[in-house]
Symmetry: C2
């Protein structure tokens, strides 16, 4: 019986995982290592025999673990929290991740590995283990200390970097080569997916979740949340991204619901169960033979991770304006790799672009560094003191002066308000353009399917093309108009700023008007090119197009106010969702 | 990729299940029906196409749902609650289940079905749906009414009957025939399994669970609980019983832990997720074509369930000493079938002893009756009034007189204490005998494996047999001595009761001594025969046996006190576990 085999595997995994985690807890080591050890013990590569009969099923099962881990990460994330973390963490993390990517890549090349292996090694070494660090800081009782806030900020940003890395690497894994243009296109596609998913999701899902939470049972709330989570993961996979990304975006969307705490609470046990399976499945992949063979790279990778991460985070932290002590302690806390490295290695392995030995090396290095983390954290105070006293006086005073300078860099009041307004306007234009792109891509996707679904209605090629194109234009009209209006406002503000009273004498007003219209005009041209380029797959013949454009122009003029209203209503709904969650959460 | 297919299936199931449950919740119908409808919609038997690619995996997944449903049923169960429900519910349920088994069997025969189909139909019709009834009573706000207590009591006992039924039917399904001796042997094996699992489990697991709850994280507690649940299900499956039984026993054991509420809370979401999958998988099995073909049996089965259950529960309830009104309202509340019927049908289908059409009939009948339940419950007050006024006066007064008689039947004080003592002594003897049986069965199981594991030590056949037999005898010595001592006490009490002072004149004392020794002697003989019969598979040659018996006798005499102490300590530990949970829970 298939069912009994599956149950046997699961029972073996749970029993062994239960025992090893109890032992690791007693030894005050991270429970995650217990899971990995459990996987190693019951896996097919350790004598006396494999305790798991259907590895394939367990692997499929464990994939759900990644999705659920990312979902609950998204739940805790929320857009408001991202803003709180601020620019400092973004700069520190950017510097740190780039340095580690480079260090890992160079290390891989120095080993004589292939480009792809070296690239994946760099990615694996770039991201710290959120789970490990959070647990270790909690256990050391350092939650309230200053460096802990920097650590939390870096962890949040690192997770986003990891998402981008996974998406880009998935793209590279499919084509099998590294091309800057390709990577850029992937990032573009990724941004588009995230923006569209976030906006559509935020408009619909938080309301739905809150409705279910208010009306239904816990069971229904759980099923709804899981439906959103798995559905988004599936969409992401269909769009060519990782299921992890889908889970994360779904979590970030549900995080804006007022009842997010209940959802988190309900999803936690499910996540823990599949998370355990995920880590056990990782352990099952370890081949002790390979490990002994590659003992030198393993130790070197672990050493580079510990030393490199400490230095990179310290450097990034200081550049972002933290004092050296805080930055160093944060670096010591982040000196390890973890779950994301496994996900990244899994992406590479699944698509066959990396060598077999990379996975066990990543796991072994993460195990080694994980053992070091609690020790480093506990003695970070002492280490920081020792190193600080070793620094020459000049460097110390230079660092203090730099931190002061950075702290004074923040925009002053009036400028801050204007900068905020400009940022908002540009953001609105970009988001509306992204939505237009999404609408036309959707229409292009629909084109071959329309013929299939509605054969009698859409027999004529011209008719079908005209219909689809008109529909896409009609749906994107509110976004187009909104983008134009925001561009108009942007032009006015910029003209006001650029041409101060009196500088151009009597012609000030006229000059302002001309310059102020330049920007909306440019945006209009860009929008037109965008619509034409995007619609090229569904454009009707030239005569029909001309006719349709005239109709569209007439419609736009006639329904201008209605379109504005529709857009305003949608925007208000979106703002409602995000503000209500912030006040409730 | 295998993983993506699996995720796709799961995403489809969760999204469709989420939608249908929302609709059913709006319509104020049980959510379980929503799951089944979801399964029907995405299943392979409904047009336009099957949305599930890997039905096999989902089925294996859904099996976990049964295990987890039974586990959480066991968690809520607890041995203390069983005692509370009392003998009245036991009698009422016994009468009701027997009546329904008979009615279902006769109905199946009347349809012209095979014996096995008719038997399974009877079993399916005998057990009400705990989930449905609890939810319906909750929704109708009748939790505090008197008939609700009777309903809860019957539901608890019905669940135990269902466990026994499933175990017996599994046994029948394996041999493919109904033999009274075989059924009896199955029940015996079942009781042995339950007693041994309960005692060994109660000695070890509640302490372990409480230890983890106090020391570890929620994640560890969850993994430990799931390990116990799946481990027990696996053991039950290996011993030839259903995984459902294993899950239930595991739940009943963990229910005695002080931290059972936390475990319940943690397991709930996992159970809900897999429970949803279970019901969706059931819906996927429905073939609408078969359903239309068998529309007559479906309606008849549903009608017999509604009318038969109402009458049977009313009859059983009245016999157990309830007033007619309460019994009738309880009957109306229990007039449906549900999840257990699916499990029973699943057992039959998996082993291929029942026909294909039985499953959809059971599901369709349960759907029909499930729609009726909330209506019947809400109007049970009115229906009871109407029917009551229809009864002839004589019958009514007869019923009241009967209820009074039953209420007066309970044992009076002194007798109650003695009866309680006698029951305890007999129970202890039976349990100790069961443990001895288990030890010798374990030794017999070990015999061929010893040769495999320790070939150099156990080369000699005689040596191996002697070693095993001595070990088994040594381990069971505390139980044997305890059984003998309890029998001694039982004999004394019975002699005291049987031969009242003065009845036998001067010889009273002597007679008492003789009669009092009869019972322990009889138990001793039974124990000796038992040990010999059980040990027949591992008995050494006659000369060695004699020698060993002499050594055993000497040991027993020498270590009598130690053995008693060991037993007392184990018993105290067991009592501790059960009492601490009762005071904390």
């Amino acid at each position: 019986m298939h069912g009994i085999e599956f149950l046997t595997d699961l029972a073996v995994i749970m029993v062994v995982a239960g025992c090893t985690t109890l032992i690791f807890h007693k030894l005050r080591q991270p429970v995650v290592l217990g899971y990995i050890l459990a996987g190693l013990l019951i896996g097919p590569h350790t004598p006396p025999f494999a305790l798991i009969t259907d590895e394939e099923s367990i692997r499929g099962f464990a994939d759900l673990g990644v999705v659920l881990l990312m979902f609950s990460l998204g739940l805790e994330f929320s857009l408001a929290r991202l803003r709180e973390v601020g620019a400092a963490a973004l700069i520190a993390t950017g510097v740190e991740v780039m340095l580690m990517l480079w260090a890992g890549y160079e290390l891989g090349r120095w080993f004589g590995w292939r480009t792809m292996d070296a690239l994946f090694l760099g990615a694996m070494m770039a991201i710290s283990s959120t789970m490990l660090v959070l647990r270790a800081i909690h256990e050391a009782g350092q939650k309230q200390e200053r460096f802990a806030r920097l650590v939390f900020g870096i962890l949040v940003i690192e997770d986003i970097f990891a998402i981008v890395l996974i998406a880009v690497l998935s793209g590279i894994a499919i084509t099998g080569s590294v091309e800057p243009g390709m990577a850029l296109a992937t990032v573009g596609k990724l941004s588009l997916f995230i923006v569209v998913a976030l906006i559509l999701g935020l408009l619909l899902l938080p309301r739905l979740v809150d409705h279910v939470a208010a009306e239904g049972s816990s069971e229904m709330l759980l099923v709804t949340s899981l439906a959103i989570c798995f559905g988004a993961a599936l969409l992401a996979a269909k769009a060519g991204f990782s299921v992890a990304l889908g889970g994360f975006v779904a979590g970030a969307i549900v995080a804006e619901a007022a009842s997010v705490k209940r959802v988190e609470h309900l999803v936690e046990p499910v996540r823990d169960m599949f998370g355990a399976l995920f880590f056990v499945a990782i352990g099952m992949l370890i081949q002790p033979g390979l490990l002994f063979q590659y003992i030198v790279p393993v130790v070197l990778v672990a050493a580079v991770v510990v030393i490199g991460k400490t230095l990179a985070v310290t450097f990034g932290g200081v550049i972002a304006g933290n004092d050296g002590r805080t930055a160093l302690r944060a670096g010591l806390g982040l000196a390890q790799i973890g779950e994301f490295s496994f996900v990244i290695a899994g992406v590479g392995l699944a698509s066959g672009v990396i060598s077999d030995f990379l996975y066990p090396i990543a796991v072994a290095a993460s195990v080694l560094t994980a053992f070091v983390t609690p020790i480093l954290l506990r003695s970070s105070d002492r280490i920081a003191d020792r190193l600080h006293s070793l620094l020459p006086r000049k460097v110390r005073s230079l660092m203090i002066a730099y931190a002061h300078w950075i702290a004074g860099l923040g925009p002053v009041e009036e400028n801050a308000a204007i900068a905020h307004m400009l940022r908002r306007l540009v953001l609105h234009i970009v988001i509306n353009m992204a939505l237009v792109v999404a609408v036309f891509l959707g229409a292009a996707w629909l084109k071959p399917r329309m013929l299939e679904w509605l054969p009698q209605w859409t027999a004529g090629e011209t008719l079908r093309r005209s219909l689809l194109w008109s529909l896409a234009l009609f749906v994107s009209m509110p976004m187009l108009i909104a983008a134009y209006r925001k561009a108009d406002a942007l032009g006015m503000v910029l003209a006001e700023l650029g041409i101060r009273d009196g500088a151009a004498g009597a012609r000030t007003f006229a000059l302002r008007r001309v310059l102020g219209k330049m920007i909306p005009l440019a945006v209009l041209v860009i929008l037109a090119v965008l619509v034409m380029a995007l619609g090229s797959a569904i454009l009707p013949s030239r005569e029909v197009l001309l006719l349709l454009l005239l109709v569209a122009a007439a419609l736009a003029a006639f329904l201008w106010r209605s379109f504005i209203q529709v857009h305003a209503r949608l925007q208000a709904a979106l703002r409602d969702v995000m503000q209500s969650s912030r006040s409730d959460g």
